[in-house]
Each structure stands twice: as C-alpha cells, then as structure tokens.
C-alpha cells in the first residue's frame, strides 16, 4: 500500500476518534450530558458513532432514573426521620409512661416519663424485664401474665394497680396493646400507663359523699318517725272517746289530724323504701304472714278517705283456704298499702273497691278492682316508672308522688311474682298481683 494513503487514512481515523474523545473524557468523570456529533458523511465510523450515542442516551436515562430513585428514597428517609423525631418528641413529652415490650418481656423502648415516676432514668430499663428490675412479686405476676396474654390473644388489656412511685404509693392504669407488623404477627406490645390516683380519690370521695347523703336522709327519715309515731298514738287514744269524748266538730278535727299524720308516716315509708331500692340495700326477712290481716290493716289506714268518698270496700277471700305465706312482712304491707291507696285515691264518689285473694297451686293471687278514673292506654306501659303519674291522675289530684307503683314493682320482682294492670279509662282499673307461696329470702 502507498505510504501516503496509509498516513492519510491514519489521520482520518484519528480525526474521527477525536470526536469521541471529549465525550469519553467527560464520561470518565461522570458527565454523560454531552452528545456525540455525528459527521455529515456516512462512513464506517457512523455505526460506531450511532452505537456510542445510543449507549450514552441509555446511560443518561438510567442515571436519571437512579438519581430520581435516590432522591425519592432520601425524601422518604427524611419524612421517616422527621416522623420519628415527632414521635419521640410526643413520647418523650407525654406525661404517661410509654413502654414497648418484646416477646421476652424486655423493655425495648421506654419514655422519660418513667424517670418522674421511679426516679430512675429511662436507659436503666432498656433491655431488662420487670423481673430483672426488681418489681414486687404480686405486681410482677399481674404484669407478666397480662403482657403474655396480649401477645398470645392479640387482645388489648387494661389493668389497674398500685405502684410505689417516688411520691409514695399511687394508683395507675395501664393499657397494653399489641403492635402488629406487616406480616400480622405481634413482635411487640405497647403499654401506656396513666396515673389515676386523683381520679380514684375523686371517685372514692364521691362514693363517700353519696353514702353520707343517703345515711343522712335515712337518719332524718327515722328521726321523723318518732314524733310522727307519738302523734299517731296520742290521737288514737283521743279518738277512743270515753274520758276523751269531745263534741263532733272537735272529733272531726282530730280525725283530720290523724289522717294527715298517717299520710306523713306513709311518705316517710316511701322515702325509705325508694332510697333502699335505689341503693340496692333492700333486706329480706321472710316470715309466715297472714295476708288478710295486712289487707285489713291497709283498709283501716285509709278509712278516712274511704269514708269521705263513700266507697264500698270488700275483701273477697275464703280465710280457711288462705294459709300464711312466707314473705317479708314490711314489703308485703307496703305493697298492699299502695295498691289499695291507688284504688281509693283515684276512685269516684260512691264507687267500689274489691280485693280478691285466691290461692292457686303455687301462688297467691291478689286482685285489686276499682271503679276509678282508669289509665289511658298509651300510658299503661309507664305506670311502674319512678315518679310517673298518668295524665288523668295529674288532672284529678295534686297529691301523689308517683312512687307507689315503682315500689310495688320493685318488691313484686324481688318476690319473683308478677303484676298486671288492666284498665278502661273512665271506668276502672284492675291490678292483679301473683305472689309465690314461699318467697325465698335473699342472702
């Protein structure tokens, strides 16, 4: 070959390759932004140039994607870092003690609130179990069994206990919840502990105040019974006449006093009954009870109103068939009193009250039938509600506490008996009470 031609070719190749050199030099330092300038004439280097350019563009694209991804990851890491800082700020500033336990019952995280409670810095707890930290046996068992339960059942638990803090023994409540990972397994549990000493003290104080209030009301009610009882007996002696014989007008006044006095005695009974029922402090004393004599006494207690309204009161029963039933006498007396009182109070002038007592196989059925104002059908389901008085009752009578049937229902329920009301407005009401023959005394 001609030496000149070879030299010309070498120059030509060198010139062509030189176009790539700059790009390679830049690429060597990571700068892939430069394009290869393609010569206008196509020759054997064109393919090389095109190939190199394509490669450059691919590299550029990949680099771009990588940079994006790295940038994206950095953003996420930044967000996570920020969140963790926020959480730590929250957890560290929370007044509650926040602890994370692992499956070996070790503290893996605990916030600084624990220092305020125990006097020990948080780091002293990390990696240790409550046992290793010297928790008292009973409390330790309680905690460990609860944490274990949360791990195995996945159920959140709340426990209350006393703990010796540096301020003395205080009440705490801990809520222990499972921490699920993406696979759904529980690797850790989180315990958030709250000081409830003040709350407990407030609760106890409230209960004490409530008890004292009831004791006070009870005391007053009982104190009222003494003068009321004395008045009753004094008036009753005066009403016997004889050496106390008085002119009719005086007698009538005495009877009025007697009636009002009896009403006060019944109100005190109601007050004490309702307080006992509401406080769940009803005591039972089942004894053989002659229900007919209780009904007779109830009628006597209401004699003034019965006479005033000229009511005909009948007791329909066959005494020899009615044996004594085992029941609390005071409760029985109060029930009979209220049912009879309603039959009398809401009755019309010249009306009637019939009390029927029938012995059934396992129970005694007592029926109070009156010819009174009746109960509006829409209100019948409410008559046993505390303080409820029917619209008719309210129209007719300002007296009445709305407590009678509430007390009656409470006692009938305790006896495991039943009570039913049938009524026709304007015509009358029939109340049927069924009492088991032997009412079991509750312990």
């Amino acid at each position: 070959m001609d030496t000149n031609a070879l030299e010309e070719y070498k120059k030509f190749v060198k010139k062509r390759l030189a176009a790539l050199t700059m790009v390679f030099e830049k690429a060597a330092v990571g700068d892939f932004e430069n394009d290869i300038v393609l010569p206008q004439e196509e020759d054997e280097f064109t393919q090389l140039y095109v190939g190199m350019q394509v490669m450059l563009e691919v590299i550029r694209e990949q680099l771009g994607e990588l940079t994006d991804e790295i940038g994206h990851r950095r953003t996420i890491e930044e967000i996570l870092r920020r969140r963790e800082m926020e959480f730590k700020a929250l957890a560290e500033n929370a007044p509650d003690v926040i602890v994370r336990f692992d499956r070996n019952l070790r503290h893996v995280y605990i916030n600084s609130a624990v220092e305020r409670v125990t006097g020990k810095p948080a780091k002293e707890f990390i990696g240790k179990t409550n046992k290793e930290l010297g928790m008292a046996k009973d409390l330790l068992d309680y905690w460990d069994s609860t944490i274990t339960h949360v791990f195995t059942s996945g159920e959140a638990c709340t426990i209350q206990y006393m703990f010796p803090s540096i301020d003395g023994s205080r009440h705490y409540e801990s809520r222990i919840v499972p921490e699920y990972d993406e696979k759904g397994t529980i690797e850790y549990v989180l315990a958030i502990t709250h000081d409830i000493t003040d709350l407990k003290r407030a609760q106890e104080e409230l209960q004490l105040i409530d008890r004292k209030k009831t004791e006070f009301l009870s005391f007053i009610a009982h104190q009222l019974r003494t003068p009321l009882g004395n008045i009753r007996w004094s008036i009753e002696l005066l009403l016997k006449g004889g050496k106390y014989a008085v002119p009719q007008p005086v007698l009538e006044k005495l009877q009025g006093i007697h009636e009002s006095n009896l009403r006060m005695i019944f109100l005190v009974n109601d007050l004490l009954d309702v307080m006992r029922i509401d406080e769940h402090k009803v005591t039972e004393n089942s004894e053989p009870t002659d229900i007919l004599s209780i009904i007779e006494q109830a009628i006597k207690d209401l004699q003034y109103e019965i006479k005033r309204k000229a009511l005909v009161v009948k007791v329909e029963a066959q005494p020899d068939l009615i044996e004594p039933i085992m029941i609390d006498q005071r409760q029985c007396r109060d029930v009979m009193h209220h049912l009879l009182s309603n039959a009398v109070q809401y009755n019309k002038i010249g009306g009637s009250v019939t009390v029927g007592v029938v012995k059934k196989e396992n129970s005694l059925e007592i029926v109070f039938r009156d010819t009174g104002i009746g109960i509006p059908p829409a209100e019948q389901h409410r008559i046993f509600e505390k303080f409820f008085r029917t619209s008719r009752a309210l129209m007719n009578d300002t007296q009445g506490t709305g407590l009678g049937l509430y007390i009656v229902k409470s006692y009938v329920d305790r006896w495991k008996g039943s009570i039913q009301a049938h009524s026709v407005e304007g015509e009358g009401t029939t109340i049927t009470v069924s009492v088991p023959l032997s009412v079991n005394a509750e312990a």
Binding site: H222, T226, N230, E236, N269, T283, R330
Partner: protein, 124 residues
Amino acid sequence: MKKILIVEDDMQLQQLYQESLVAAGFEVVMTETAREALTHLKSFHPNLIILDIMLPGGQNGFDFLEQIKRAEEYKSIPVWVLTNLDSERKTALSIGAAEYIEKANTPIEEVVKKVVAYLKPLGF
C-alpha cells in the same frame, strides 16, 4: 296482775304506754336505760318486757337483750322490741326477741290487743 317492764327513753311515749297499758289492766314499770332496767329486774319480775333499741347510757336495746338472754334467771322473760327502725327485725329475732313491732306503722290499739292476747293465755 300481769306486769310489764318498759325500757323507753322518750318521755311522751312513756306516757302513752303508761296510759294505754294501765287502762288495759297491767302493772307497768317504766325505765329509761338498760342499766335501770337491769336494776329493776332484780326486784320486779315482769311477764313481758317492752324494749326500745335506741337508748341512752352506753348500752342499746340489743346489748340489753343479749345480756338478759344470757342470764339464767331472766332469759325466759319474753321481750318485744318496739322501735322505729325497720331494718333490725332479723337481728332482733335472732338475739331472742319474741316480737318486733314498728311503732309508727302500728296503731296503738293493735299493740295493746297483741299484749292482751299474749299475756292472757299465760294465765297470770
């Protein structure tokens, strides 16, 4: 004549007992405290004791009742608790009271009738 020992510190009530029971034909001795009642028991042998629960002097009616139910010479005397407390029935009967009557909830006539009915058959 049948004899009744009453342990009751309310003066008005004392008069009411006195009047109604004497009129019914009984001999009545009134005491205000458990100690007084115990003193009287030595010389006055009642056929019935009517006992209040709330008493002054350091011993209440139940203390008195327990004491006499433990005493050989007094334990057979029937004791009726007459009170305005309505929650002590079980206690009273378990200590040995023969009756428990709520004063304010019982007409005086009924109390007298019960006393008469109780003591008459005992044939004193």
